[in-house]
Amino acid sequence: MTLRRGRAALAAAALLIALVGCAPQTDAGARDSGTTGARPAAEPSGTLTVFAAASLTETFDALAEEFERQHPSVEVVVNYGGSAALAQQIVSGAPADVFAAASEATMQTVADEGLAADPVIFATNTLELVVPAGNPGAVAGLSDLARPELVIALCDPVAPCGAAAEKLLVAVEIAAAPDTLEEDVKAVVTKVRLGEADAGLVYVTDVRAAGDDVEGIAIAESAEAVNVYPASPIVGSSNPGAAVAWIAMLTGLEGRKVLAEAGFGEP
């Protein structure tokens, strides 16, 4: 009996260790102990975790490859998603080293918690209409977003692309009739790409990234809503050296080149 009880206690202890081991690092202590940018001179190594807005997918994939080539001992892991969702994850203790957002508002969410070490603006982006190849809905301009017979996909206003779309539509006084409000810009592109939506309002860069499945229609009034992209190392990062190196590359010549090729504007 004692043997059995001992075994049970052992099993319970093992499970507890396993459970505790799985817990993400959310304690404030771990965050405070790190100081970003303390050792910029040392060659970075280890894993660099970048949280990036969905609209950065193609550029950051390319930059991650370049970064790993320059720093062979670093493995870059990028978590793409809606900026607002990512900001929320970082605030809840997700282990990010760098956050690159599609709006200043979502970066502010992180800054308000004292977690954005040093935000810099590295790119701008404007909106464009996106339609499936062949433009089955015969969409010509922003005013077509009000046509009730078309299936229109927009971003929800919580996402930066949705906030920009709202701002633009208010500025040009068009009452859009959306059929769905998606949580991030890539979800809108997907709906258009699959032909389920006749038109969507997304970033210029997303239209370019989607290739031949879609067509972009430039908007004359797009300067009414320009999105700026801030990036910042995260306070308490486990890899501050690599985080600083990443931001340096992003704002340097290589970053500019890749971003410009994708259609992003200069800050």
Partner: protein, 268 residues
């Protein structure tokens, strides 16, 4: 009285069961503790919440109805397949199981491939002016897709354990096929049907991935409570928790109420 009563459980079982229970219950306890109770009145009476709750309850109810109408016959077929050759029997079982193991988002994509505007059937329907995507009907369909297996397996389980000789006896005594089904079979499996319907309803209520992929997200039309909760998480986490608590309360109330009445042995 069950023969197990009074026999002490081994400590190992108790410890492991305790860990399992803690994993299930503690996150919900944390949710309740962190909920913005002071603000709850304002959060819950906002029109967006009422709209999402109404949409969720209505669509989940219709989805449960569809599961009953089409799922009970499928369960009967599945129970009957016991006497089939191995391969078709297994294929049938796999087909019913797939929605349980498929990530719901992929289920949504699969529904788009079939019923989307450019889908196999959807392109024909769209020609006729019966486009389904981005409608409340798409929400119901996505919910039915993911919750159907719960009903089918519950009813099939009841059919397997039911005493089928009663059906034979009724048939021998001159009952028609329809009479046997209505008066005997359905009554034999009533507890399984009720349990399956409850599981179906709660699964449909919580459905997220297939819905957002196949039906989109528009307030009042396709934005159900789980989707509203997910979006709120990005702007107002307090509201997201409030929405989650509504879902939790509705599900717990439904499970408790129906199980007491219908599930033999559970409500005692």
């Amino acid at each position: 009285m069950s023969p197990d009563r009074g026999r002490a459980l081994s400590p190992l079982i108790l410890v492991l069961a305790g860990v399992a229970l803690a994993l299930l219950v503690l996150p919900l306890v944390a949710l309740l503790i962190r909920a913005p109770w002071g603000d709850m009145g304002r959060l819950l009476t906002s029109p967006a919440v009422g709209q999402a709750l109404l949409l969720s309850v209505v669509t989940a109810t219709i989805a449960t109805g569809l599961c009953l109408v089409f799922g009970i016959p499928l369960a009967i077929l599945l129970a009957r397949a016991e006497h089939w050759p191995v391969l078709p029997r297994r294929l049938l079982r796999v087909a019913v199981t797939i929605p349980l193991v498929l990530p719901p988002v992929i289920g949504g994509i699969a529904l788009l491939m079939l019923l989307g505007r450019r889908g196999l059937l959807g392109s024909v329907l769209a020609e006729l002016g019966w486009g389904i995507t981005f409608t409340t009907g798409a929400v119901v369909l996505a919910q039915t897709f993911v919750s159907l297996p719960f009903l089918v397996f519950a009813v099939e389980g009841a059919l397997r354990t039911a005493d089928r000789r009663v059906e034979l006896a009724a048939a021998t005594l001159g009952a028609s096929r329809g009479q046997v089904f209505r008066l005997i079979t359905l009554r034999l499996v009533a507890p399984g049907v009720a349990a399956g319907a409850v599981l179906c309803f709660t699964r449909a209520l919580g459905e997220f991935g297939a819905t957002i992929t196949f039906a989109g997200s528009l307030p009042g039309v396709t934005r159900t409570l789980p989707i509203a909760s997910y979006l709120a998480l990005q702007s107002e986490p307090g509201q997201a928790i409030a929405l989650a608590i509504i879902l939790l309360v509705v599900s717990v109330v439904v499970l408790l109420a129906l199980r007491d009445r219908w599930m033999p042995g559970v409500g005692r």
